[in-house]
């Protein structure tokens, strides 16, 4: 079912000199707010802080629309806009510019980022209204959007990497936004450092790819001559030291266009030389090996390590749940809709590289499905509403990686799009709930909010439909396409071993994960919005089931000190420190008076008071996003339903020039599989409804006690954080301490020892001076006297004696001259 609308000619470039404005606007906003923010806030009011930030976002979005209009007007295979600013670096073979490019893929990303980004900026106005460093929040948020736009708009790996790390910086700053809480600060650091592990893999993959374009890899036996290659430099023994013999950049003419062949960081140059068969590069790369492994496999796997970090896949996902320490709009924008999808974007961007290596494909898809399943199970038992959504994000990212792993690049990207909408809705909905419940995040203290917060409840429900995969919301279409493509993909390999069973296996695990997703998402919906409100002033009834041991995770241990009372405008405090979690049964706590929709936040930061619907700036954003979560369905309505390829597949085709083959099945099979998708969603929903609707059932409680050991393990996220602590952090710190000791006590000791030795020599010297040299001086005096007495006897006055002396002397001179010439 591969609709090969492949355009395999050279990329046709259309200049668009205004593209740089798209990232510039948020950058300007970030600069203004970070340099002048305090003064603006103090003198002009918070209104101006967010006005600047939102204004810049809007301008950016409008410019993106302008680019979209220009792109739509172009023929399908010429949709490539480019804008070069200046040459950043030229050294040897490496050459890259600060340049931006938009193809259909990055265009989609830019629209998501600027549109959802703008909405989330608007949402933040209400959400952060009480924040003292309001300006800082908007500065960081704008900085993030700037970096994210660099990431997706970069014309080359370098600019992309600028964005890649820049979003990491923004993420660090925003996670530890409330830095006075050391735990949040630690969460930020964790995110950055874990991502650096990924970056380590990413740059190594990048270097491999870069140099492999230069020429031959395996050392050649005959290349033993001394050569100088201008691009590589000089090495005496290329066979021993320099496996990369460069052929240097050259040009191959295809369709009247010169296509550069050789090392490059430019996406377009890379794509052209790899995809166009006439250059021979693709064929060449396919057969290159390093350490006996196909080179492209190494490239794909290493680069995916970067994606593991950024997109929170096993085993580097650990930072994302902790990242929920950041303000909720941040979780929605960065840790759900945009930044974490960077890895998916990267794999899709390099689709043609991944498609050439079945092992790399299998690696991506396997990690994806394992993550999807693993994270879904953790989601089952979390009580913190944001943690549920965090694990759900990890799981959904896994689904996306199944898509881009099995070769369904457009479907993976489509899931990225749908997920951006429904997960943003869910996170912002949870933010609205948290705000309404006075910074309460524990779902056991919620309940019954449907009546109190109707808009939030409805939008949350719509987004839950979408993520669960009901066929009237967008998630169904993307997830179903991904799993179907996984099932029909039989060409993947697992570490070089052909594994035709891998596709179906991924489908089975994927459908289980989808069932689980439906279950825990409806669980969160029912726990939060149905039944009676369980929060409020008095924690009435101790369930007696909450094992506090469950909170004994070391990095959470000191959190008990952060009592909810300490919170002022910070969400999530209570999440760590709920000393008396109440899950009241049948307690009448729901206040009679419902919403007071007035955008007054006077009671924020205080605990108590009934939950209330959020201000209009929040509900409108929620409604828009929920509408989007349904509306984007039309981009991906399958071929099976209409007979046409989905709109988005058609749109993305020029940007995804990868040739992947899938097995063909009849329509009946495809309908059957769609039915299985719906069944999975329904089963999950059914159990969640039975167990959690209205908080009536005792079954969850009983089940938990029956399988308490298992529950504890899963509730504590399989103790992965603790394992990391023991296996990575502690050994590193130990090594650091040891080397520091070594430096001070061994190396410096040697230095001091040398100094001591010099002093000892000096003392010996002194003694020699006193007794030997001085003695010698005195001795010389005596010697002269004695010598004179002896030599006096030579003065005989006889000519023979003098002649003997002269002859002997000249002989000595000749001899010496001969010896020491």
């Amino acid at each position: 079912m591969n609709h090969a609308t492949q355009h395999l000619g050279p990329t046709v470039v259309h200049a668009a000199g205004y593209l740089w404005l798209i990232p510039l606007f948020p950058a300007v906003g970030a600069i203004i707010n970070s340099l002048l923010g305090t003064r603006i806030q103090r003198n002009l009011g918070k209104r101006w802080n967010h006005a600047i930030a939102i204004g810049m976002m809007t301008l950016s979005f409008l410019t993106a629309l302008r680019a979209f209009a220009q792109m739509v007007a172009l023929p399908g295979d010429e949709r490539f806009l480019q804008n070069t600013l200046w040459n950043m670096l030229t050294a040897g073979q490496m050459q890259f510019d600060l340049a931006f490019a938009l193809d259909p893929l990055s265009m989609m990303m830019v629209l998501i980022i600027t549109f959802i980004g703008t909405l989330i900026h608007v949402f933040s106005v209400g959400y952060m209204a009480d924040e003292p460093s309001y300006w800082r929040f908007f500065a960081y948020l704008n900085l993030f959007v700037f970096a994210m736009l660099l990431l997706v708009m970069g014309d080359n790996f370098a600019v992309m990497f600028f964005g890649w790390e820049g979003v990491g910086l923004a993420s660090y700053l925003l996670i530890s936004f409330w830095y006075t809480d050391i735990e949040k600060a630690q969460a930020g650091m964790k995110a950055f450092v874990v991502n650096r592990f990924g970056d380590f893999g990413f740059i190594l993959g990048l270097f491999l790819l870069f140099w492999s374009l230069g020429g031959i890899w395996e050392p050649r036996a005959d290349a033993r001559s001394v050569t100088y290659v201008p691009e590589i430099g000089y090495k005496a023994d290329p066979a021993a030291q320099n496996p990369f013999e460069s052929t240097g950049p050259r040009a191959v003419v295809v369709d009247g266009h010169a296509v550069k062949v050789g090392p490059t960081l430019n996406f377009r140059e890379l794509r052209d030389q790899v995809v166009i068969e006439a250059t021979g590069v693709g064929e060449h790369l396919r057969h290159q090996k390093l350490w006996g492994v196909a080179l492209l496999t190494l490239v794909g796997m290493l680069m995916f390590v970067g994606a593991m970090g950024k997109s929170a896949q096993l085993p580097l996902y650990v930072w994302l749940p902790d990242a929920m320490a950041g303000p909720t709009p941040v979780s929605a924008l960065i840790h759900a809709a945009t930044m974490v999808t960077a890895g998916v974007y990267m794999v899709a961007r390099l689709s043609y590289i991944y498609a050439m290596s079945p092992t790399a494909m299998g690696w991506v898809a396997t990690i994806g499905v394992l993550t999807a399943f693993f994270a879904a199970t953790i989601g089952f038992f979390q009580y913190d509403i944001k943690k549920v959504l965090a694990y759900s994000t990890v799981s959904q990212l896994g689904i996306m990686f199944i898509g881009v792993g099995v070769g369904a690049y457009w479907a993976g990207t489509y899931h990225l799009l749908t997920h951006a909408f429904f997960k943003a809705t869910l996170f912002l909905g949870s933010g609205s709930v948290i705000l309404g419940c006075h910074h309460e995040q524990d779902m056991r203290k919620m309940g019954g909010l449907k009546k109190l917060m109707p808009v939030t409840a409805w939008t949350y429900l719509v987004a839950t439909w979408a993520i669960a995969g009901f066929p009237w919301a967008s998630g169904f279409f993307s997830k179903d396409e991904i799993l179907w493509k996984a099932f029909t993909q039989r060409g993947m390999e697992l570490f070089g071993v052909p594994a035709p069973w891998l596709g179906p296996a991924i489908f089975v695990i994927g459908i289980l994960a989808a069932t689980g997703t439906s279950f825990y998402m409806f669980r969160s919906y029912y726990m939060t919005f149905t039944g009676h409100y369980r929060g409020g002033a008095g924690h009435d009834e101790e369930h007696g089931e909450d094992p506090h041991s469950a909170h004994a995770a070391p990095h959470h241990a000191p959190a008990a000190a952060h009592a909810p009372a300490a919170a002022h405008g910070h969400d999530d405090h209570a999440a760590h420190g709920h000393a008396a979690p109440a899950a009241a049964h049948g307690v009448h706590a729901a206040p009679a008076h419902a919403t007071h929709a007035a955008p007054a936040h006077d009671d924020h930061g205080h605990h108590g008071g009934p939950p209330h619907e959020s201000p209009r700036s929040i509900t409108w954003v929620l409604a828009t996003l929920a509408f989007g979560a349904v509306a984007v369905s039309f981009l991906g309505i399958p071929l099976l339903w209409t007979g046409h390829a989905p709109i988005l597949e058609h749109w993305l085709a020029p940007a995804l020039p990868a040739e992947v083959t899938f097995l063909h099945f009849g329509h009946a099979t495809e309908w059957l599989f769609q039915g299985m998708g719906v069944a999975a969603a329904t089963i999950g929903w059914f159990f969640a409804m039975k167990l959690f609707k209205d908080g009536q059932s005792r079954v969850p409680h009983d089940l938990k006690h029956r399988f308490f050991g298992f529950w504890t393990v899963v509730y504590n996220k399989y103790y992965v954080d603790e394992a990391y602590h023991a296996l990575v952090i502690r050994p590193s710190l130990f090594l650091a301490a040891f080397l520091s000791w070594f430096d001070q006590h061994v190396i410096d000791w040697l230095v001091n020892f040398a100094g001591w030795l010099a002093r000892v020599f000096a003392a010996i010297d002194d003694a020699i001076d006193k007794y030997v040299v001085d003695g010698a001086v005195n001795g010389v005096g005596g010697l002269t006297r004695e010598g004179g007495r002896v030599l006096r006897r030579i003065e005989t006055g006889r000519i023979q004696t003098y002649l003997y002396g002269a002859a002997f002397g000249s002989l000595l001179v000749v001899l010496l001259n001969f010896l020491f010439r």
């Binding site: 200046w86 050294a91 790390e165 830095y179 650096r196 592990f197 990369f244």
Partner: protein, 562 residues
């Protein structure tokens, strides 16, 4: 007045003129009895003016430098050396006054100008922002109140001011001279001129263990100098005569570095008779290399650096990290590479190994530090390892990265030492465990620190990323394994910087530091320009690279045996 053919002379001697002026003022004071306060202020003004003019001269030199020019011809070949000023100095020994810049040294000249001026500002007790801040830093000019004892040491900016300024200016001359000298003898003279003021600046104006640190620094570098001197003598006696400034041929030998490079390329030193059974060029290479490696500093010769930094006053740390460390790699690229290409080839793998050790070892040691300044010092050692690795790989990308790393590190690490100085002036200690939550009290300072930290840990968009990236990318095809090992430093570096950030700035505010003043104008005028340079170079590295690339290309091409 300043022309391309004398700009380097001005850049070199303006500071010395300044110190002469201060000296004259001291003499005047002795005879006419000026007020001490007047003399102090006058010597400060003189220092500021002299170092500012030096900065102007170095910017002019940068401006006039043409990367594509052939420059001075030596044996009919382009050397790229420009703005030459040349005269015969000591005829009997063929010693010339011979200065000029090529792509290798021009960036260092610019850096020396910038950092010297920054260090001059850091030596002033001005713009401190109110009597309270002045008192807090111990910058009170008058002696009543508290004296200058161990418990309440006076700030270095108000102790024996004229002497300090004279030495500082002398140091500047030594540094600038070292980078522009093209005569081996002249180079050595400047190298030693630089050494002595440093010793006194650490030993007199330093912290509690200043004598130990100063002696250690002095002996270490002197040991290096001795080796270097022996190597210089050996090279001199092996060299062939060359044309001197007045067109006559020198007697028997030459000190002219460009001629020596041409002779080295022709194999003059490779074919020399062995010394004690070891190839001449290898022995000379090792002697030069150890001499320079001590300055880098390279493991295992690095232990003077943490001590010297910890004890040195802030401006001296700034100069030490910003410029003195760069003399090591500069010397290797100026002496070892062009003069001894065969031995360079022989030693390349060893240099790479030491580079990797520097990178990883020092990064781990930095992770274990509690002392803020020591952590920054070890991070310097780690970052200089990238220069070593890039030099060893000898690909165009790697060697450009190595030299560019010298420049960016010369911008970033001074900023880091200034940042340490800011907090030390207020808290009078540097133990990171004892701080906490400072971001609440000093937001602007925290922001600047964050910027410098991220620049140093190699965040793209800031100066530190590009050289690391270039070195790693350039070394990759030559030293695959070493590059992979070195690349792990990106993780460790991020860990120690962010951990430091967390311990010092984040968390609950330690109440002992409540009411601390944020950065004052004195610190702002140093930190903001450096921060701006970091961002500028992060997005436009070609600004520096376009000047240094051709020279380095030439350098590695000339490593090819004829």
């Amino acid at each position: 007045m300043i022309r391309p053919d004398n700009v380097l002379v001005w850049a070199t001697f303006l500071p010395v003129i300044g110190s002469a002026v201060i000296l004259a003022l001291m003499v005047v004071r002795h005879f006419l009895g000026l007020k001490k306060r007047f003399l102090d202020q006058a010597s400060r003004v003189v220092t500021m003016v002299a170092s500012f003019l030096m900065l102007v001269a170095s910017i002019l030199a940068w401006h006039w430098f043409d990367p594509r020019a052939q420059g001075l011809l030596v044996q009919g070949k382009a050397t790229g050396v420009q703005m030459v000023s040349r005269a015969i100095w000591i005829r009997p020994f063929n010693v010339e006054w011979f200065v000029g810049v090529d792509g290798l040294s021009i960036s260092m000249v610019l850096l020396t100008g910038i950092i010297s001026f920054v260090a001059a500002i850091a030596s002033m007790p001005w713009w401190q922002g109110g009597a309270k801040a002045i008192h807090m830093a111990g910058m009170d000019e008058d002696d009543h109140g508290h004296g200058d004892d161990e418990h309440h040491p006076k700030h270095f900016t108000v102790r024996m001011v004229p002497g300090y300024m004279i030495l500082l200016l002398l140091l500047m001359t030594g540094m600038m001279g070292t980078f522009v000298a093209l005569d081996m003898f002249l180079f050595y003279v400047f190298w030693e001129v630089m050494l002595l003021p440093m010793y006194f600046l650490i030993g007199v104006w330093g912290g509690p263990r200043r004598e130990y640190a100063a002696i250690k620094f002095f002996l270490y570098t002197l040991a290096g100098s001795v080796l270097m001197l022996l190597a210089i003598i050996a090279v001199y006696y092996r060299s062939l005569p060359a044309v001197m400034a007045d067109g006559t041929l020198s007697a028997r030998h030459t000190f002219n570095l460009l001629e020596l490079a041409a002779q080295g390329r022709a194999g003059q030193f490779a074919t020399a008779l062995p010394i004690l059974g070891v190839a001449f060029s290898k022995i000379v290479f090792v002697a030069f290399f150890i001499g320079f490696a001590i300055k880098i500093p390279m493991f295992p010769f690095h232990t003077w650096l943490p001590d010297a930094h910890v004890e040195a006053p802030t401006p001296i740390s700034v100069i030490l990290a910003g410029i003195l460390l760069k003399m090591g790699p500069y010397g290797i690229l100026r002496f070892n590479y062009p003069l001894l290409p065969d031995a360079t080839e022989w030693a390349a793998n060893a240099i790479a190994v030491f580079g990797v050790i520097n990178i990883i070892y020092a990064a781990y040691v930095a992770l274990a530090q509690r002392d803020f300044k020591k952590m920054v010092a070890y991070s310097s050692v780690s970052h200089m390892g990238f220069t070593l690795l890039g030099m060893a790989a000898m690909t165009p990308m790697a060697i450009s990265g190595a030299v560019y790393n010298m420049f960016t590190h010369g911008i970033i690490s001074p900023a880091l030492f200034l940042i340490v100085g800011v907090i030390y002036d207020r808290a009078h200690h540097r133990d990171m465990e004892r701080f906490g939550g400072l971001a609440k009290e000093l937001p602007e300072y925290s922001g600047l620190t964050g910027l410098a930290f991220f620049a140093s840990l190699g965040l793209p968009g800031l100066a530190g990323f590009i050289p690391e990236f270039m070195v790693l990318a350039g070394s990759f095809p030559v030293y695959l394994t070493f590059t992979v090992i070195s690349a792990t430093a990106v993780i460790i570096t991020a860990a120690y910087y962010l951990w430091a950030m967390q311990r010092v700035f984040l968390g609950k505010l330690n109440s002992a530091y409540a009411g601390f003043p944020d950065v004052n104008w004195r610190e702002r005028i140093m930190l903001y320009p450096l921060a701006a340079i970091m961002i500028f170079l992060g997005f436009y590295p070609q600004f520096i690279l376009h000047a240094i690339n051709p020279a380095l290309q030439l350098l590695i091409q000339n490593l090819r045996p004829v």
